[in-house]
Symmetry: D2
Subunit: 161 residues, 4 copies
């Protein structure tokens, strides 16, 4: 079966998210525990998270859903409207994000909850952008938060070994 890692990195870039942006979020999550953590130290963890098949499928599905809402080709116009206005009580975006975090254990889930509320860095940017006309980042901001949360959790577990 195909490895979609390179494809996913391209998809994220095309939607305005670099691997460095995600590593920066992961560093923010680990900042309390390690002084002077360098971006490079977290980049490896981000790449490792992106190499998992389940993560790749989640990224592809999430970004496609955002684009489909933007292109207004959905048959269900209620759903399309919910996605376009990033309705707060719509939770399928977080459910897909949890599908990523779960692979990295309970620390990843806690990390996700924190960064999702704090809206640090690229997540804040995506969130603001998604509020503008025509742009839908409803799934993307959660996916980015989940990858960062997972990378930070992976880093924490390896640090103590």
């Amino acid at each position: 079966m195909e490895d979609y890692r390179t494809k996913c990195i391209e998809l994220l870039k095309e939607r305005g998210v670099t691997i460095e942006d995600i590593a920066d979020c992961a560093r923010f999550l680990q900042a309390d525990y390690h002084v002077d953590l360098k971006l490079e130290e977290l980049l490896e963890s981000v790449h490792s998270v992106l190499s998992k098949r389940e993560v790749q499928h989640a990224i592809m599905t999430a970004i496609e859903l955002d684009k489909l809402a933007e292109r207004k080709v959905m048959e269900d116009k209620d759903l399309e409207a919910i996605l376009l206005r990033d309705e707060g009580l719509y939770g399928v975006d977080e459910v897909i994000a949890y599908g990523i975090c779960n692979l990295y254990g309970s620390i990843a889930l806690t990390n996700f909850g924190f960064i999702d509320k704090k809206k640090y860095g690229i997540i804040a940017k995506l969130n603001d952008e998604g509020k503008g006309t025509g742009r839908c980042n409803t799934f993307l901001d959660d996916i980015v938060g989940a990858i960062a949360a997972s990378a930070a959790s992976r880093f924490a577990h390896r640090w103590v070994k």
Copy 2:
């Protein structure tokens, strides 16, 4: 905010699934524990599950994804192909299904795993149909399994009260 319960029942029907089909799956899951359980006794639980907002959003998203794959309007043709052939290692469908089961506790999750492998009743029918040309039930069969698993779990918890 709008209640999409009636809409979801219509969406399911349109895709070939009745509330009775789902109650029948729930009865199958409870059959070991109760002799002579009537369909009517489980219909109420199915209706209760369908009245939850998170369940409604999951149904709408799942059915829309199946239709979008069928209509071949996705930009990501790799993803579209994965969905159309119901690729075994694609797991976002189960992740969304777990988002429903989780609301009904650990028994619902176990129930889901069982009926998903056993492919009882309407789930077998959806699965076979999805293997045919042009039809995509990749998300729907898991959603139906999740609603049945949740209804059975809810029933079990109420039975002992």
Copy 3:
């Protein structure tokens, strides 16, 4: 089957946690969305969360584990030591907490991650206390966070109806 709601409220109190403490955490989680939310408005949600059987079982198991570690009666002294020092990479406490949050959907999980990192109110107190000699709150602080996160999520979903 017995309803352990009253028992759980007693168990929590005995460990230094009142229903008001938990409602205060839930209010903190909802503060961004509602100005001037009163404690009473969240107390009802806390009581509703405590009435679920799965929540009661989680509370009973969590508090018993903390006490068993304190009483030093565990056969596995490695585990006992991990619990007594609230080892950061031990995650079974969060796993049990997620078992509660999952019942209240994706918003509850995000809420939990946030309050677990922020350590607001009673959660900070429990955490500090657990660092002292002889006291183990390893499971309790997560359970309290999970009940608060769930109560806040339940409140948010009802508010918009």
Copy 4:
């Protein structure tokens, strides 16, 4: 931090479960997909699952809880009784098991639900044994099911690579 893999293998053995028993359950779960799968091919996956810190913590906690109930040293006699009779609606055992499965994605969760209901091999033995006087396997059978389900899921993902 210490690696408890060897310790966990000893703990399982002491409770009557060998690595081969678990690999046999994993093979059962993969049997539909691969003819003539050898036990050795799954043993490597079982060992890999056991090398994860979160899995080790779950095993240690689960087995300790079973023993504490057997030794009747719990302060909460309601909880002790629930564990000793393996009360069907008590779900913390499955919650801890899901904490393992989640690390291996959605296939692991489905596998767990199936084997938990089917009660194949060592799981049936543990379940029967737990029904006898003085023996508590309430947590252990779910933990064993979760390790087998995870090993089978890991195997499936690697097979297609």
